[in-house]
Point group: C2
Chain length 216, copies 2
């Protein structure tokens, strides 16, 4: 399979969700145009993305929904289950634990850690919060494929180091800080504060330019 | 002020958090090298970013922490308060409501809406969940600057339309779907599912390539 870019992966991930929806509606075929419409891209882009890994729709008929979904599922690594350790049992951590969507896609949060003595030993859903100091012992008992970091900013790098030492090969970071991990570990970041600040910047600029127009 | 790119804004947002930390430590000066180190970029990039809006450090001394922080705060629109309406009182919505960090940065979630009769009328923190059908009436009473969408995928576009009709000028979308909004509305997306799937793709590829090497 040719090398697939990060932006193609993101589009595949979107196609996958559209296909799930369309399959739930009982449809067997989908056109590149419909896949494109839903994502606000061109149908040429859809056909290019899908041809990259050898899936071609039939002219006038489109793609077979179930087949295409299975293909993308395999490419994205969603045809197996991933064991996820979550560190940081605060609000965001608890919300992720309660969200069933991840498990449906194959991501099982199997352990949760914190360093706050008030949280250690408490129960969130099916899991008991463990001391983050026991992370490496826990990893020795039961493999973790990925780690999720939902700690405050200050603790995040230390937690990332501990997760890497515990053998995870991917980290999803929610702490608003750039983290450093070895090249063999995949890192993705969800920074909600940056998104909010990018919005407030955009709104401030718009205000500024409206004022400018009013003055002119 | 010259036009500032989205990636510069994201770096400013990071500098801002480093400056907050350094100020809390009681430091008065910070070098471009230290701002760079923390973010994993070059000090030349930091100096370039900061010079864009006319802030220059003194050679050998660095930048004045309080002054630089105030400047970035104003640029990012964090020197005022933003009124935020949240739609979707599920797990992620409730977590955002409970997270105090946003209020500290000036983002006040002042209203929460849902369409589930079981949720409408319940209390989350200081707020009572209101019927999403009353969004435009609520907006007429009390201005909303921004909207946050934490609904399931299917409802997201309809909710975005309702928020736009209610006069918001910025939307932060957590639903895993591309949304369409008019040009005068700023849209940012936090798609956790895509991040997870991008990780599982990366891990699957790594597995694949290791197998490849073992065979070779």
């Amino acid at each position: 399979m040719p090398r697939i870019s990060e932006s193609t992966i993101r589009r595949l991930s979107h196609y996958y969700r559209v296909l799930e929806e369309v399959e739930a509606e009982g449809k067997r075929l989908i056109s590149s145009r419909r896949l494109a419409e839903r994502e606000g891209i061109t149908s040429a882009q859809v056909r290019k993305d899908l041809s990259t890994f050898g899936s071609f729709g039939r002219r006038g008929l489109g793609y077979q929904v179930a087949h295409l979904r299975a293909e993308i599922r395999a490419i994205l690594g969603l045809d197996r289950r991933w064991r996820v350790a979550l560190v940081g049992a605060g609000n965001i951590g608890a919300a992720l634990l309660a969200y069933r969507g991840f498990a449906r896609q194959g991501f099982d949060i199997v352990a949760v850690f914190d360093r706050d003595p008030n949280r250690i030993g408490t129960r969130i859903g099916d899991l008991v919060v463990r001391d983050v100091a026991s992370l490496s012992d826990a990893a020795a008992e039961s493999r973790f494929d990925m780690g999720v970091i939902t700690t405050p900013l200050r603790a995040a790098q230390e937690v990332a180091d501990a997760l890497v030492a515990a053998g995870v090969r991917g980290i999803l970071n929610f702490a608003p800080r750039k983290l450093f991990v070895p090249a063999h570990v995949a890192l993705r970041t969800v920074d909600m504060t940056v998104e909010f600040e990018s919005l407030s910047f955009a709104l401030s600029q718009a205000r500024g330019s409206r004022r400018g127009r009013a003055r002119a």
